[in-house]
Each structure stands twice: as C-alpha cells, then as structure tokens.
C-alpha cells in the first residue's frame, strides 16, 4: 500500500517539483504504480506533491486565488480521468503542469471580459524616425535598491503592470518567461505559428518594459 503519511511531514515525504520540466524519477514511478492500482492514498500523495506548484501556475495565469483553486481542482480531476492514458513519456510534474495550464486557460476563456482597464499594447511600443532610429533617447535603467521593503514595493508594482496587459499578451508572457514553455509549446497552446507566438511574447515584453520605465528608467 502507498502510505503518504509514513514520514510524518509531507514536506519531507514528497519533494516539490524543482522545475516544470523535471524528469520525475523513481518517486514518480512508485506513485504512478500506486495510482494505477487505485490506491486512495496515492491520489492524496499526488495532490500533496504537485498541488502547490500547480496552484502557483494557475495563480500567475488567473490572478485570483479562488479561480486558481478552481483551476487546480479541475486539473486534478482531469488528470485522474486521464491516468490510464498517461504514457509516461514526460514526468508526472510536466504532465500535470500542462494540464493545469489548460485548465487555467479554459477558465480564462470561459469568463466574460473583465472590467479592469487594460492598456493598448500598440501605444506602448517604441517609435522610430523614418531612418529607423528611436524618436526618443533611451535611458539606461537603474538597479533597484537592495532593501527588502523597496524590493517588495517594486515587485508589487511590477505585478500590477503585468496585470494591466491584455490577456492576449499577458498569458503568452507568463507561459514563456515564467512557466518555461518553449516557443513551440507556446505556439501549440495558442494555436498559432511559432513566429506569431514569438511576436506576441516580444510585444508583451516591450509593452511591460514601457510600463516599467517610470520605475526603473527615471534619472536619479
């Protein structure tokens, strides 16, 4: 029998995912065997081992803890239903990572448009002269201060700026730069060409860069 509570603390029993694209390992193999044997404890172990990181992914994509929790629940239920067809070509962590991304994006698509004011990305792209030079001089950015309080404030501001991007740009940015999807994986997820996916991420970064300019680009 698979016994998730044998070690006393789940933190010690079930090491967290190191990276969404980790390779699993023997822990996964034992867990998978127990899951396929239908052991109830194995399901609990799966949720405890991978749920935290899946929730972070959902939270980054959805921005709301309640919605992230819903997406994680839907993702696990979907995973439980698909366990029989899981071929083991990727690690359990990678497989669950993809499933929670799908669950979060489906949730996002099914929602009515949010009322929060979003920026127009086109307004945030750099402008150039007829010769192709910048119309405005670019200012080197300063390094943020080391003090924890200022760092917290800065990160809060960055998070708010990311939230101001329209979903069509924010989601590709998060999937590529935070969730580690390759350009090909991102293109598959967005159902666009690889080049279109790259352009979407690039424009998102450019727009975010412009939104952050007052924070980092101000001359001291």
């Amino acid at each position: 029998m698979f016994a998730p509570s044998d070690c006393g603390s789940q933190d010690f029993c079930y090491p967290p995912l190191v990276h969404p694209h980790d390779t699993g390992g023997t822990g996964d193999a034992v867990l998978l065997e127990a899951l396929r044997a239908g052991e109830a404890d194995a399901y609990a172990a799966l949720v405890e081992r991978y749920g935290g990181r899946m929730r972070c992914t959902a939270l980054r994509l959805l921005g709301s803890e309640d919605q992230a929790d819903d997406a994680v629940q839907e993702a696990f239920l979907s995973a439980f239903r698909s366990l029989a067809t899981f071929a083991g070509e990727s690690s359990l962590g990678t497989w669950l990572h993809r499933i929670v991304i799908n669950a979060a994006l489906m949730k996002r698509r099914s929602e009515s448009r949010r009322s929060a004011r979003k920026v127009d990305v086109d307004d945030l792209l750099p402008r150039f002269t007829s010769m192709g030079a910048f119309t405005q001089a670019q200012v080197p950015w300063s390094e943020p201060a080391d003090e924890p309080a200022i760092q917290r404030e800065t990160r809060e501001r960055v998070t708010q700026c990311i939230a101001r991007l329209p979903d069509a740009y924010r989601l590709p940015l998060v999937l590529r730069d935070l969730e580690g999807l390759s350009n090909r994986e991102l293109a598959d997820q967005l159902e666009v060409t690889v080049n279109a996916a790259k352009v979407r991420v690039h424009r998102a970064r450019q727009a975010l860069r412009q939104l952050l300019e007052p924070t980092f680009g101000a001359t001291p």
Partner: protein, 123 residues
Amino acid sequence: MDCAQFKDELHEHYMDRLPEGRLPALEAHAGTCPECKELMGMAAELPCREFVEFVSDYLEDELQPDRRAIFDRHLEICPDCTAYLGSYRKTKEEAAAALSTGPYVPRGLPPELIRAILEAREG
C-alpha cells in the same frame, strides 16, 4: 576628426540630428579609417527599429553568427539600443522575480482544497 568624435557624430546622423554640412566630414573620416567605414556601413545596414524587432532573438542567442556580429557592432555605436537591450533584459528579470515571490512561492495546498479534490474524485 578622431574615431570617438566620428562615433558621436554618426549617432547624431543616425538620429537625424547631425547639423547640416557635417556629413562630408563624417564621410571623409570614414574614407581614411576602415573600422569607422565599416561602422558607417553597419549603421546603415541595421536601423534601431530592426535591432529592437530582433532583440529577443539576440538575447536568446538565436541569431546566426554573422547577423549577431552586425548587432554587436550596432551596439558599439548606439547608446539607445544599448539602453533598450538592458531595459528589455531587466524587464524579463523583474517579471520573473515578481511572479516568483510572495503568493507565487509554491506551498502545500490548503487542506480544504485537498479534501475537496479528493471528495470530488470519489463523488
């Protein structure tokens, strides 16, 4: 004109800000200095607009070596693109840092959520 002044004035030329009548002096220096002549060619070959369009490929090392060399030379003469590159890189870093701290640090799921997931499976 020395090479440093050439670089400064080349940048002004590129920005459409070179005073009238200075271009012949630039061209004259380029005629005597192969390195500056190459820079002048590079500046014409790669406008900032194009640098910015492919800055992501540059950062992610996806450019062919000869193309990358053109980007590197452009950076030598263009403080705007140098600043833009730095701020673009910083944007990626700060976004990653912001969404990897605080509520985005993986923790165990709340017990009630674990319970809800397992009950939904059984139900």
